[in-house]
């Protein structure tokens, strides 16, 4: 069967496995940048990454189990012990702080980067198995995406110049 695209451009594929506010950045930054540099880009969203394809994003970040997460605060960098990070409301607080920093530092929102990816013709593929496993409704995900499995990714990756797992 003929492949869907036969392009001479360089290409990149990314497997996106994480869906928290912080981890949503690396794949979307790289995908949008590569697309702007003329690459054909494919993103394959699996497991917790699948949530990044939901129509309505409500991303959160947590310091729980993340000793490397140190936020700038009052001229210092403050980490959070797990015992504190686990308390009710602390996750929401950390998310709020992160969103403040994002805005203050001129960093794009994930919604904005995702819109850029779509505008840049990045191919977005949701993992069928993850939909089944977590009982995700197709209707809750963006309309203009593909739903497929590992073989589709592998075929794409075979042709790509850069393959990343994030």
């Amino acid at each position: 069967m003929a492949k869907e695209t036969t392009s001479q451009a360089k290409s990149m594929s990314l497997i996106v496995t994480k869906g928290s506010l912080d981890w949503a950045y690396p794949p979307f930054i790289l995908a949008t940048t590569a697309a702007s540099m003329g690459l054909d880009v494919t993103m394959f969203f699996t497991f917790y990454g699948l949530g990044l394809l939901q129509k309505k994003l409500d991303l959160e970040v947590t310091a729980l189990g993340n000793p490397a997460m140190k936020m700038p605060m009052a001229g210092m960098h403050i980490g959070m012990p797990n015992l504190v990070a686990a308390l009710p409301g602390v996750g929401a607080m950390a998310t709020g702080m992160m969103k403040n920093l994002i805005e203050k530092k001129g960093v794009a929102s994930i919604e904005e980067l995702r819109a850029e990816a779509i505008e840049g013709d990045v191919r977005l593929i949701g993992c069928q198995m993850t939909l089944d496993l977590f009982e995700v409704k197709r209707g809750d995900l963006l309309d203009n995406i593909e739903i497929a499995g590992a073989a589709t990714y592998v075929e794409n990756a075979l042709e790509a110049d850069i393959n990343l797992f994030i």
Partner: protein
């Protein structure tokens, strides 16, 4: 004087590059784009962007007040 201006001051990676790409897309071949940015990473990034896309980086300079200025000529 460049044909087009882009104010990317205050924007962080990858927004200066994404905005520049959009501006270049709408320009004629041979036209020039002047970008002003405050992201220090933009110095290496605009050089890389131009090498990969084939556009010509005519100027890359640091002005007073932490502002970086890039002049890009659209090629091909």
């Amino acid at each position: 004087m460049a044909d087009q201006q882009l104010d990317a001051k205050g924007l962080n990676c990858p927004l200066p590059i994404l905005r520049a790409k959009k501006a270049i897309k709408s320009m004629d071949t041979g036209a020039t784009l002047e970008v002003e940015a405050t992201d220090p990473g933009a110095i290496k990034d605009f050089a890389a962007f131009c090498r990969v896309t084939g556009n010509e980086l005519l100027e890359s300079s640091e002005e007073d007040g932490g502002i970086y200025r890039f002049l890009i000529k659209k090629s091909g």
